[in-house]
Amino acid sequence: MFDKRKDNTKESSPSRQPRDARDPARPPVPQPARVPTEQRAATTKATIGATIVIKGELSGDEDILVAGEFEGSIDLPNHALTVVRSGQVKADVRANTVEIQGEIQGDIDGIDKVQITKTGRMQGNITSPRVILDDGAIFKGRIDMEPAPPPPAKPAPPPKRAAASAAKPTVPPTQAGQPAERSGSS
């Protein structure tokens, strides 16, 4: 017991080696459980709690999770906004990614992605290169989808090639190339 306490005090030093090295047979002193990285990230998300009501302008440089009510505008161009099931947002939103499990009324500019999950409800307009609706999601409004940005630049620009119309029969690629059917018929 005493030893243990001593050991603990010693342990405040950066190195953990002494205890294990000194008495390897002793059962290890319980240490705080390691939190997986993802979970840690989730717990460090700034959260508007379920009983919180905010009106105003929200901007920041970290991910935000809304479980309460928010009215105004949200600007998180480099980060994610998650509106959980209990969350209600009446705002125009700009964020890198937006995940809607609760409710949003307003226009969303999703720089990377907007996803409405099966419990999500959204009324307004979405502008984003990637919009995902899960089955059961309720959406009313307009979606503007720009194609995903072109793949990473080719290292050495080769001489001009004919646009590869990788033949998907009826669906155009999102980039400049045209589908076989279209190019054939237009």
């Binding site: 409004g141 009826t170 669906v171 045209q178 589908p179």
Partner: protein
């Protein structure tokens, strides 16, 4: 299932953004499908507006303003593709005309529309919700109710000016698939 839907997408200029009207709820597969395009996608779920012809107190909305309320798009909106699905079969004759009249402000000479009609309005026609998986593949979710005003191809052709029926295909379960084009004047 669809035989004509792919024609609605034929000849579309992929270099410019596509503007699409989907008269229905936003379906996951439709959004996924259109994410392959540069596009502006309008979902107007008139099916979901329960008794959309009446206001909240149950009073009938005046016919002339009915669609103006729900189909009130920005002035410069011009649809390349309209997906009506079963919706036309929920409309009475006068409303069918009003619907087309309202939309005429938002179509151009090359607009194409896709719709379902009844082969016979004497036979049952059960409503479905559709999701667009691909131009030759739709997903369906049953509504389990018969549509109130099944229209035949001829009836739609007569009532839906400025749209005209360019092609029709007979499907199972009393359905006809229609490819509609805008009549050039």
């Amino acid at each position: 299932m669809p035989q004509l839907l792919h024609l609605a997408f034929e000849g579309i200029d992929a270099s410019r953004s596509l503007t699409v009207l989907d008269i229905g709820a936003g379906m996951p597969e439709s959004v996924r499908f259109f994410s392959r395009y540069r596009c502006r996608l309008y979902f107007v779920d008139l099916f979901g507006e329960t008794g959309f012809a009446s206001d909240r107190r149950g009073r009938r909305r005046p016919r002339e303003t009915l669609f103006g309320r729900f189909l009130d798009f920005p002035r410069d909106t011009s649809f390349d593709i309209c997906l009506f699905w079963d919706f036309l079969n929920y409309l009475t004759n006068p409303l069918l005309r009003d619907f087309a009249q309202t939309l005429r402000h938002y179509v151009h000479d090359d607009t194409r529309a896709h719709a379902f009609a009844a082969f016979s309005n004497a036979l049952p026609f059960v409503g479905l919700r559709f999701g667009l998986e691909d131009t030759d593949r739709l997903t369906t979710r049953p509504l389990a109710v018969e549509v109130p005003h099944p229209h035949t191809r001829k009836h739609i052709a007569d009532s839906l000016w400025p749209f005209s029926v360019a092609r029709a295909a007979l499907l199972e379960q009393n359905r006809q698939e229609l490819l509609l084009e805008v009549r050039r004047i």
